[in-house]
């Protein structure tokens, strides 16, 4: 007897008890579809994060100070970085949360005190007005550039350029509005106020510089630039290498991908558990089916079925069951993920390899959990099987 006949037989017997077949498949359907959905959501968000990191520019270096007590950067020291051969521009950052007010409209925002290179280093662009200039920074001018959300909250109907806003009670003049950049890692990049570093430090009464953005001359020099920056930091602040970190976009991406790997591993774990449960369901029903169909097995043996054909029949039945379950699981998983993509802000990314893998897995489940019942069926003694009612 060939494989095609066995498959036909299996489908026939599955068809003859559709409800049971469906219930058997349910475990696998749920397992596979949850894997597909989870992976789509997981990969979607990691992809959007990676894209954002990439959009910041690949020659960006970030020096983040974690301990502002032991590492106190001041403006004069920035020249050491500017002089480095691998670095083209430096922008210091001092940020705080502040209360901004315009008339009846007020908003809690993060104020970023910085210098003029910030615009080009962070690859930002203006939708109106202009950015902070060096001279304004030196003169401690009370001017601000608004993020697009901040601008629309404080100035719902009017053009903000040239208007004044209150920050912690101090009046600032709006000189520019940034183009929207969307949200990144859950925080909106548009809900900001950018002001000269000197003015910000005065308003917030905070003189620390907690971040330096540095841009390398070019992409190739990024690692050299990173070493140079670390070198300067070691000279300026010996023995406090734990208090700051210099990272390139590549480092960030690496961190991200290790997070993604962990997530994938976890999903794999969930997948295995749910599929294991599904597989046990298949085995359970197949065992019931074998004992219910003992007589049928006896008849088949009496008219010339050998052990192999009986084994194949039940094995294929299990495999067909779990593969149909897998197929339904894949389709419903893709559907659910699609719906999540439509009705929520989560981004979705389908992975063909995971989809295929899930399907192959359902095949394997059928084999693994079908072998035991099928083997049991094939070993039945024909006489005893025929006696069964």
């Amino acid at each position: 007897m060939n494989l095609l006949e066995s498959v036909k037989m299996a489908i026939k017997s599955i068809k003859s008890n559709k409800l049971r077949a469906f219930l058997t498949m349910l475990g696998i359907i749920i397992g596979i579809s949850s894997v597909i959905t989870l992976v789509a959501v997981g990969q979607g968000s990691s992809q959007s994060v990676t894209e954002e990191i990439g959009s910041l520019g690949t020659n960006l270096l970030t020096l983040s100070v974690t301990d502002t007590e032991s590492v106190q950067l001041n403006l004069d020291q920035l020249e050491h970085f500017d002089d480095l051969s691998g670095i083209s521009e430096v922008a210091p950052i001092s940020s705080e949360r502040v209360m901004a007010k315009k008339g009846d409209n007020s908003i809690q925002v993060s104020i970023t005190g910085t210098t003029s290179p910030y615009l080009s280093i962070r690859d930002l662009s203006l939708s109106a007005g202009r950015f902070i200039s060096d001279i304004e920074n030196e003169l401690r001018q009370k001017i601000v550039v608004l993020g697009s959300d901040t601008a629309s909250t404080l100035f719902p109907n009017t053009n903000p350029i040239g208007e004044n806003i209150q920050i912690n009670g101090v009046s600032f003049k709006v000189v520019g509005v940034l183009e929207s950049v969307g949200s990144s890692l859950g925080t909106s990049g548009d809900n900001v106020i950018i002001a000269p570093l000197s003015t910000t430090q005065r308003v917030t009464k905070n003189t620390t510089i907690n971040t330096l953005y540095l841009s390398a001359e070019n992409e190739e020099m990024i690692n050299r630039a990173k070493f140079q920056v670390q070198g300067v930091m070691t000279t300026l602040f010996p023995n406090s290498s734990d208090s700051y970190a210099v990272s390139s976009q590549d480092d960030l991406m690496e961190t991200m991908s290790s997070v993604t790997d962990t997530m994938t591993l976890m999903l794999g774990g969930i997948a295995s558990i749910s599929l294991l449960v599904g597989g046990i369901g298949v085995m359970n029903i197949m065992l019931v089916s074998v004992s219910e169909r003992t007589k049928e097995i006896g008849i088949r043996k009496a008219i010339g079925a050998n052990r192999k054909s009986i084994l194949l029949q039940f094995l294929i039945e299990a495999v067909v069951l779990s593969m149909i379950g897998g197929l339904i699981g894949v389709v419903s998983g893709l559907g659910i993920a699609k719906l999540i993509g439509i009705f929520s802000s989560l981004s979705i990314s389908f992975s063909p390899s995971v989809t295929i893998l899930a399907f192959v897995f359902s095949f394997a489940i059928g084999i693994i959990f079908g072998v035991f019942p099928a083997n049991k069926a094939s070993k039945l003694n024909p006489i005893q099987a025929l006696r069964q009612e």
Binding site: K12, I299, R300, K301, A302, I303, G304, A305, N306
Partner: protein
Amino acid sequence: MVQLAQVVQEEVDSNMTKPIIEINHLSKSYELGGETVHALQEVSLQINEGDFLSIIGPSGSGKSTFMNMLGCLDKPDTGEYLLDGKNVTTMKDHELAVIRNVKIGFIFQNFNLLNKYTALENVELPLVYRGISVKERRDTAIECLEMVGLGDRQYHLPTQLSGGQQQRVAIARALAGNPSVLLADEPTGALDSKTGKEVLKLLKELNEKGHIIILITHDLEVARKAKRVVRIQDGQLFENGGDWLEPAGIRQNGH
């Protein structure tokens, strides 16, 4: 003396027709709760080309056990079973499956049809296991159904057929593989006397076409129609020109 006669008989046979089935000193017993049931004791029998043999005997005497041995469904404890000169008792499972599929057609008392398969599919099944192509086996199955007069019931499920019709489907299934030996364990037991007679007529016709028929029956009328009659009592087999078919013997039989 008995053995000598047997040897002579064997020589005569081998000179004339070679036995298809040759059974020597076959025994089978069952252990049940410390008690041993000797279902078959030292049974010997030869069956030749063209034989129509009926087996009679009281209930529980070992007829079905013997039939299952003949049909390669069960293995004896001791003894030898040669089918076409080949020793069946030492064969492996897959070789036995081929024999059941090709050489033997089984007709059961309770039909043993697959309830989820149509009449046609039931008849086709032995050919499926033989690996015959779809078209060819369909044609053969239809032919066999027509032979038993059920050409118009191909797509009926067993549950949609009468008992006699079901038994005829079972016969068609046994015939589909064109086996040399047809084994029928009380094929008329579940049928009324009229349909029983029809089934018997069918078996007789098949015998005339060259199939060996071995028939278990409780009905002496039926048994008498066979060319040879053997009797099994307490697991022992006797063949004796049909003496016990005489009225005196019938009473002794409990009928």
